[in-house]
C-alpha cells in the first residue's frame, strides 16, 4: 500500500513536469499550428543554465529566473531565425526544421556546458517529508505547484489579457486576426517566448529530482508530446491531465513491471491514443477541410 503511494507520488512529480512541457507545446501549437519538436530542449536549457549558475555560486533565487530568461531568449531566437523564415513551408519542412533546431540546441548545450549529468539542491532542501507511509521530496511540491501555477497563468493570460486574446485570435484565423488589427507577428513571438519560458521553468524545477544533461531533450519532448496527445492537442486542461497521467503510468510501469522499460510506456500510450481516440481525452474532433 505504502509502495503504491510512493509510486503515485513520484508519478505525480514527473507527471507535473510533463504537464508543463505539454502546456508549452499547446501554447505554440495553438498560436501557430506548429508542433515544436525543440520543446524538450528548453527544459534542458533551463536545467543546465541553472545548474551552471548555481555551481558558480549564484544563489538559487537569482539563478532560477535567469535560467528561465535564457530559455525565453532562445525561444524567440528559434522563432525568428528558423520558424519565421519558413512560415509558408509545407508541414514536412516544418517538422524537419524543428527537429533540426532541437539537434542544434542539443549540440550547443554540449558546447556551452558539457556532457556531464547535473543536479543541484532542492529549493527547500532535500530532507524528505513523510506522508502516510510515502516520502515526498519538498522539491516535488515545487514542481507540482509550478505546473499548476503555469496552467492557471495560461488560463488567465489567454482569456483575460489583450495579448493573450491576440494569440488565440491568431491561432483561429491568422488573416482575420491581422485584418482586425491584431499584431500577429507579436503574438507569434510572444507564444514562442512564453512556451520556451515554461519549458525552461520546468527544467529549473525538475533538475533537483530528475537530474539533467545535454541530451535528455528529445525524451522530454516525446513525453511532453505524449501528454499533449493523450489530453488532446490544443487543450490546456488536456495537457495538464495528460501530463499527470503519463507520469503516473510511467511510475507504475517502473514500479510494477520494469524500470528498464518505463520510457517505453509513454510510447505505448501514444500508440493506443492514436488508434483508439485520436482526438485525445479533451480534444475536439475536427474534420480537415478539403
Amino acid at each position: 500500500m505504502s509502495e503504491l503511494l510512493q509510486f503515485l507520488v513520484s508519478g505525480i512529480t514527473v507527471g507535473a513536469i510533463y504537464a508543463a512541457i505539454a502546456l508549452g507545446f499547446t501554447l505554440i501549437y495553438n498560436a501557430s499550428g506548429v508542433v515544436n519538436f525543440a520543446q524538450g530542449e528548453f527544459v534542458v536549457i533551463g536545467g543546465m543554465t541553472a545548474a551552471a549558475l548555481i555551481g558558480a555560486g549564484v544563489p538559487v533565487w537569482i539563478a532560477a529566473p535567469l535560467a528561465v530568461i535564457a530559455g525565453m531568449l532562445v525561444g524567440v531566437l528559434l522563432y525568428r531565425l528558423a520558424i519565421k523564415p519558413a512560415r509558408e513551408a509545407p508541414l514536412v519542412s516544418l517538422i524537419i526544421i524543428t527537429i533540426g533546431a532541437s539537434i542544434f540546441l542539443r549540440g550547443a548545450m554540449q558546447a556551452v556546458f558539457d556532457k556531464q549529468i547535473h543536479r543541484y539542491d532542492g529549493f527547500s532542501g532535500d530532507a524528505p517529508l513523510r506522508v502516510g507511509g510515502a516520502t515526498i521530496l519538498p522539491q516535488s511540491l515545487w514542481i507540482v505547484g509550478g505546473s499548476i501555477a503555469v496552467f492557471a497563468f495560461l488560463a488567465w493570460f489567454l482569456n483575460r489579457t489583450r495579448a493573450g486574446r491576440g494569440i488565440k485570435a491568431t491561432a483561429s484565423n491568422r488573416m482575420a486576426a491581422a485584418l482586425v488589427g491584431i499584431n500577429t507577428g507579436r503574438a507569434m513571438n510572444l507564444s514562442f517566448a512564453l512556451s520556451a519560458a515554461i519549458g525552461a521553468l520546468a527544467g529549473v524545477l525538475a533538475t533537483p529530482v530528475t537530474f539533467t544533461s545535454y541530451d535528455v531533450g528529445v525524451l522530454m519532448a516525446l513525453k511532453g508530446f505524449s501528454a499533449t496527445m493523450l489530453g488532446g492537442v490544443g487543450s490546456p486542461l488536456g495537457a495538464l491531465a495528460g501530463g499527470l497521467l503519463i507520469g503516473l503510468i510511467e511510475a507504475l510501469t517502473a514500479g510494477y513491471i520494469s524500470s528498464d522499460y518505463k520510457d517505453a510506456s509513454a510510447f505505448i500510450v501514444i500508440l493506443l491514443v492514436l488508434f483508439l481516440r485520436p482526438q485525445g481525452l479533451f480534444g475536439a474532433r475536427i474534420t480537415e477541410r478539403v
Partner: protein, 343 residues
C-alpha cells in the same frame, strides 16, 4: 537576353523528373538500368583513385548510407512521410546479422532473416501508424525507434547491451575468391556495398516511373485527390514504409558485416536524424540526392574535425538551413541553376 530565355523556357527539374515526363519513345536502356550504370561507374571511379584501405572503408560507409537514405527517399521524397525511427529498422538488420550466427545460422541467412524481420515489423506497425499524418507520424516513428533502441541497449544477454557486440561470420573477400579475385577485405566490402547501393538506386528509380510510383507521388501532393482516383492510400503508404524499412535493414546488415562490430547507437535517434538529414541535404526527391547527401555527411566528418566536435550543431544547422534556403535539397537546386544557365 539570358533573362528572356529563362522566362519562356519550361522548367525542368532534375534528370529523373525529365525521364518521367518525357514523351513515349523507344529507349535502349530504361531509367533504372541507366541509374545502375551511373552508380556502377561511380563505384569504379572510387576504386580507381583510392590510395589506401582507409579510403575503401569510408567509401563503403558512403555506399551503405546511400542505400539506407535511398529508402528515406522513397518514403520522404516520393510519398512525403517523415520517419524519425528508421535507424530502428537499420539496427534490426544489423543485429540479426550479428546475433543469429552465434546460434549456428550462417551469415547470409541471418541477413535475410533480419531484413525479413524489419519488413514484417514495418508491415505490422505501418498500417496503424500510417493512418496518422504529419506530426503524429513523426512522433509515432520516433517512439518506435526509441523502443527498438531501448530493447537493444537493455537486453544485454542477447545484444551485448550498450557496449555493442562483435559480428563474426562472412567476409566478402571469400565471395571474390570464388571467382578467382584476390581482394583485401576493405576492398571487397567496398565493391559489395557499392553494388548494393547501385541495385537499390535502380529499384527506386524504377519505382518512381511506374504505376505504383505515380500513386505514391500523387499521395505526396494530395492524398485526397489520390484517393478520389482509386488509390488505396493506406495500402500504398504501408508499402512504401515497408520498402524503406527493407532498404534500411539491408544497409544495417551490410554495415554489421563490413564493420565487424555494432552498438545500439546504430538504432539510436541520432542515427535516424542523420539519415533524414542526408536525404534532405542532397534532395529527398531523387536517388542522386541520397548519394550526394550520404557522401557529404559521411566524408566531411573524416576531414573536418569540427564535424566530430560539433556533430549535433552541424547536423541540426544543415537541417534548418536546407529547409529554409533550398527546400528541395542540393541536387535539384544545382540542376535548376544549371538549366537556368543553359537557357
Amino acid at each position: 537576353m539570358a533573362g528572356q530565355g529563362t522566362t519562356t523556357a519550361p522548367q525542368e527539374s532534375g534528370r529523373e523528373m525529365q525521364a518521367r515526363t518525357e514523351p513515349a519513345r523507344r529507349r535502349v536502356i530504361g531509367p533504372g538500368l541507366r541509374t545502375f550504370l551511373i552508380f556502377a561507374v561511380l563505384v569504379g571511379l572510387g576504386a580507381l583513385i583510392f590510395p589506401s584501405s582507409y579510403f575503401y572503408r569510408v567509401g563503403t560507409l558512403v555506399w551503405i548510407n546511400t542505400l539506407a537514405v535511398t529508402g528515406i527517399v522513397v518514403l520522404l521524397g516520393y510519398v512525403g512521410l517523415v520517419s524519425l525511427g528508421h535507424a530502428g529498422f537499420f539496427a534490426i538488420g544489423a543485429y540479426a546479422t550479428a546475433i543469429l550466427p552465434n546460434y549456428g545460422i550462417p551469415s547470409p541467412l541471418a541477413m535475410l532473416a533480419g531484413v525479413a524481420l524489419a519488413g514484417l515489423l514495418a508491415l505490422a506497425v505501418g498500417r496503424p501508424i500510417l493512418k496518422l499524418s504529419g506530426y503524429y507520424l513523426a512522433i509515432a516513428t520516433l517512439g518506435l525507434g526509441m523502443l527498438i533502441w531501448m530493447v537493444l541497449s537493455k537486453e544485454a544477454w542477447l545484444t551485448g547491451g550498450p557496449d555493442g557486440m562483435v559480428v563474426s561470420g562472412m567476409n566478402a573477400r571469400n565471395l571474390f575468391k570464388m571467382v578467382g579475385l584476390k581482394l583485401k577485405s576493405a576492398e571487397a566490402w567496398y565493391w559489395v556495398a557499392g553494388f548494393a547501393a547501385a541495385i537499390g538506386a535502380a529499384i527506386a528509380v524504377n519505382l518512381a516511373g511506374s504505376p505504383s510510383g505515380r500513386a505514391l507521388r500523387a499521395i505526396h501532393d494530395s492524398d485526397v485527390a489520390a484517393r478520389s482516383l482509386g488509390v488505396d492510400v493506406a495500402k500504398a503508404k504501408s508499402r512504401a514504409f515497408v520498402i524503406s524499412a527493407l532498404y534500411a535493414a539491408v544497409a544495417g546488415a551490410l554495415l554489421a558485416l563490413a564493420n565487424g562490430y555494432i552498438t545500439p547507437e546504430t538504432g539510436g535517434f541520432m542515427h535516424s536524424v542523420e539519415m533524414v538529414t542526408m536525404a534532405v541535404l542532397g534532395g529527398a526527391s531523387s536517388v542522386f540526392g541520397a548519394l550526394v547527401g550520404a557522401l557529404i555527411l559521411t566524408a566531411l566528418p573524416q576531414v573536418l574535425t569540427v564535424f566530430a566536435d560539433y556533430e549535433h550543431m552541424v547536423l541540426g544547422g544543415i537541417m534548418v538551413l536546407t529547409m529554409i534556403a533550398m527546400r528541395r535539397g542540393l541536387v535539384p537546386f544545382i540542376v535548376d541553376l544549371w538549366n537556368r544557365r543553359k537557357s
